[in-house]
Symmetry: C2
Subunit: 154 residues, 2 copies
């Protein structure tokens, strides 16, 4: 159920939003990263219509981002867990959160803070260059054609 | 024109996707970061319907993410530039791109690569902790309520 006009572009941003690019999908993923696994719990946390939640969960399972497993037989009930591919989306949620923290919170401060359990401290992650280790800023970056520019869509 | 069910949540992810959360918006921002400023150039690069592009650009201007300036008087023509608030979205695009590079490119490799002009090298940015400097991984992170949890929406 990908959005083909986007999925067919030689662009990893377009291909990713062809899969994810619906508002509710991002907050469903937020729930999954916070450890919510069950439909009822997610629905309560999100305030989302049941049919929309069911549809978005199905798509995330089809895309291999969530794994669906039965946890009860009668009546059948399933839980949803992030796959490795799903966990790879964590930076997307961090980036969305930080923009909202900066531009959508007013003086009250962020509704949620992140703690890096490895060091035990509250953290505001930032992107660094894999070569020089310096912080990444948009003004110091440019894009160039990569090896897959002319390849057919995967 | 924000999506109010999301905008009213005490969550910076929800508030951000309330503004951005439509697939085409992300690729319009990609064009803006690549230096495209004019409607016609963006439309050619995106393969998007004119009315959709006009609508999404208007929303981005309303939200203060793009700035619209006239560049010709007769007929009136405008160009669109990222504001500082818009440039703060760069990490969102990097994160979306990297997931697509990993999971949507097959063996061909990424269609686009990033160059860090400050050091001159191709780069694959990664998030590090603002406290300890170590790379961020989803498994070592947790969320906690922040100061703005109970505040009214900004």
């Amino acid at each position: 159920m990908r959005h083909s006009a986007l999925h067919d572009q030689p662009c990893s941003i377009a291909r990713t939003v062809a899969v994810l690019g619906e508002r509710w999908t991002f907050v469903i993923l937020r729930e999954a990263f916070q450890g919510q696994r069950r439909f009822e719990d997610m629905q309560r946390g999100l305030g989302i219509a049941r049919n929309i939640l069911a549809d978005r969960l199905n798509r995330l399972v089809e895309e291999g981002i969530l794994d669906r497993r039965p946890y009860r037989q009668r009546p059948p009930r399933y839980e949803y867990r992030l796959t490795d591919k799903g966990r790879d989306l964590y930076p997307v949620l961090v980036a969305l959160m930080q923009w909202g923290d900066r531009h959508r919170c007013g003086d009250a401060g962020p509704p949620t803070v992140l703690v890096h359990e490895a060091c035990g401290h509250e953290t505001r992650p930032h992107y660094v260059c894999s070569h020089c280790g310096e912080e990444i800023e948009a003004q110091t970056m440019r894009s160039e054609p990569g090896p897959g520019r002319l390849a057919p869509t995967a």
